[in-house]
């Protein structure tokens, strides 16, 4: 079992107060907190070997390049990619999705179809709408049931020979539903469609094996898994990455340039134009080291326990309704109390030092499905505790009393 008391020592931010109260941070699905081990790596980089990579002959540049490429290997290893050049550093999940969407704009034609799920984040809907506008392809949506689970029979009915791409998140940010991506990928491949999985919400909680999943593209962000903001990764099967054209032009992504013709660099550099977030990339690797040292099995076991406890305790409150009651879900609880506006509850909770997310969670279609303006979302990480949940419940009851 995971030693939460010791783990909390690693996170300096958990010692601070907000509005005079000890911080209780339950907005982990928006961004996770950063352990000292990762902060140290960031400080070390800027203190000791800050330099541009892949081009200098001097020692600092070599050290920075080594550390950055070492991090790519850590990511490859973590996700069990076949080749390290199948790991592309991005600025985050949204960047990765746009990179793939842009790449497909040259492969799609009128009459082609793209499938997305009803559980998507805005960032996973808009690029495909733009892609459809550019190419004349059409967008189909896998509907969900009342529990917030995708209806797989409807998905199968949408698949046909025109389906070229399927986009689905591994875990819904608004509801916490874990989607059955193994089945989704298998069915898509049966009609020859590629699959991109948004792993922004899953990677903090589970360790995906991209080869076992046989997924074509997988994207995530470092900042949701104890790393810094502004960096993430795109995994793509080698064959697919070779097929897609470069996303951005610039330094790093070229082999030879003349005014007549430019030849592009090979993978992964073809997709990494310009000076990347070097420090962020290195810190991303450190974050993976940190989480792997704790162990994803221990993390899942502990977080499931928090989820069960939080769900049970919340449901004791009269008039409280939880949205997203899928059988398979992670430590995210989205809820409302009677007709109290989520913004009001979030504001009062903040006064008591508790950070939750309120609003539509960038997933308006889901809120429309339930016909609500938004929800209050409490999301837990392995450094949260049952004592914090108790304090949260007490504060929530007080907020309800004030607002009723």
């Amino acid at each position: 079992m995971l030693d939460v008391k010791n783990i909390r020592q690693d996170f300096p931010i958990l010692n601070r107060t907000v509005n005079g109260k000890p911080l209780i941070y339950f907005d982990n699905a928006a961004t996770s907190q950063t352990p000292q081990q990762v902060i140290d790596v960031i400080v070390d980089y800027y203190t000791n070997y800050n330099a541009n990579i892949h081009r200098g002959v001097h020692s600092l540049s070599q050290e920075a390049t080594d550390a950055y490429e070492q991090s790519r290997l850590k990511i490859q290893n973590h996700f069990n990619a076949k080749h390290s050049h199948e790991i592309i550093f991005t600025s985050g999940t949204t960047h990765g999705i746009n990179l793939v969407a842009n790449g497909f704009s040259s492969l799609l034609k009128k009459g082609d179809e793209i499938i997305v799920s009803a559980l998507e984040h805005h960032s996973n809907i808009v690029p495909w709408q733009m892609l459809c506008e550019r190419t004349g392809a059409s967008l189909k949506v896998i509907p969900m049931n009342n529990n917030g689970e995708l209806i797989l029979s409807e998905y199968e009915a949408l698949l046909n020979d025109n389906t070229k791409l399927v986009f689905v998140n591994h875990i819904s940010n608004a509801l916490g539903t874990i989607n059955p991506i193994e089945k989704i990928i298998e069915k898509a491949h049966a009609v020859g469609a590629a699959v991109l999985v948004d792993g922004a919400q899953s990677c903090p909680h589970i360790k995906p094996d991209v080869q076992a999943l046989d997924v074509d593209f997988y994207v995530c962000s470092a900042h949701k898994m104890c790393g810094p903001t502004g960096v993430g990764m795109l995994y793509g099967k080698e064959a697919w990455l070779n097929k897609l054209p470069p996303y951005q032009g610039g330094g790093e992504m070229i082999a030879e340039v003349s005014f007549e013709k430019t030849t592009y660099a090979g993978l992964p550099h073809k997709f990494e134009a310009g000076t990347p977030n070097i420090c962020g990339g290195i810190a991303f690797g450190a974050a993976l080291d940190y989480m792997n040292a704790i162990g994803f099995d221990a993390i899942a076991e502990y977080e499931n326990d928090l989820l069960d406890y939080g769900t049970t305790e919340l449901l004791k409150i009269e008039g409280l309704k939880i949205y997203g009651t899928a059988k398979e879900k992670t430590s995210v609880i989205s809820f409302n109390v009677n007709s109290i506006h989520p913004y009001d509850i979030g504001t009062i909770l903040d006064k008591m030092g508790i950070a939750v997310r309120t609003g539509h969670h960038c997933a308006q279609p889901i809120m429309d499905f339930y016909n609500i303006p938004g929800t209050i979302r409490a999301s837990f990480m392995f450094y949260n505790t049952k004592e914090e949940i108790d304090a949260f419940i007490t504060a929530l009851k007080k907020a309800i009393m004030m607002l009723s």
């Binding site: 509005n19 109290i340 506006h341 913004y343 009001d344 504001t347 009062i348 006064k351 303006p373 607002l403």
Partner: protein, 140 residues
């Protein structure tokens, strides 16, 4: 009373509270008593969309004085609207145009008027002033 006098009166009222709970409870109660906008004015045209809460505002002028009614789907937002409307209502348009809202800092509610808060309040203040400017041109 001038806008400044009303604002000073509100500062006095809030100075009686010992902690945030009393301040917020008062604000919530004010929200409940807000002059509610007539349902027929709760239209798309009168809506101010914040990312978190929605606000509706309606204005009319009588005897050269502007009056506002409003509503919000969130009660704390409504409480702040009630405070703002109390200062701006029943005033000459020129006074509304020239008024500032610095008093909100003094009653400890500054965070609610932050442009990044996305509750619609900053846009609402602009909207109140726009109404005042429109009515002022009618008077000129």
């Amino acid at each position: 009373m001038t806008i400044e006098e009303v604002q000073n009166e509100i500062i006095d009222e809030f100075s009686m509270f010992e902690d945030w709970e009393e301040r917020y409870q008062y604000m919530i109660d004010l929200g409940k008593d807000l002059p509610i906008i007539d349902e027929k004015y709760k239209t798309e045209a009168n809506i101010i969309k914040g990312c978190q809460s929605k606000v509706w505002v309606h204005a009319n002028m009588e005897d050269d004085k502007v009056n506002f009614t409003a509503d919000s789907d969130a009660i704390i937002t409504k409480g702040i609207i009630a405070i703002l409307i109390r200062t701006f209502s029943n005033q000459h348009p020129k006074a509304i145009i020239e008024a500032n809202t610095d008093f909100i800092d003094k009653i400890g509610l500054k965070e609610h008027l932050s442009p990044t808060r996305a509750n619609g309040l900053v846009s609402m203040i602009k909207q109140l002033k726009m109404y005042a400017i429109a009515y002022q041109t009618q008077l000129n």
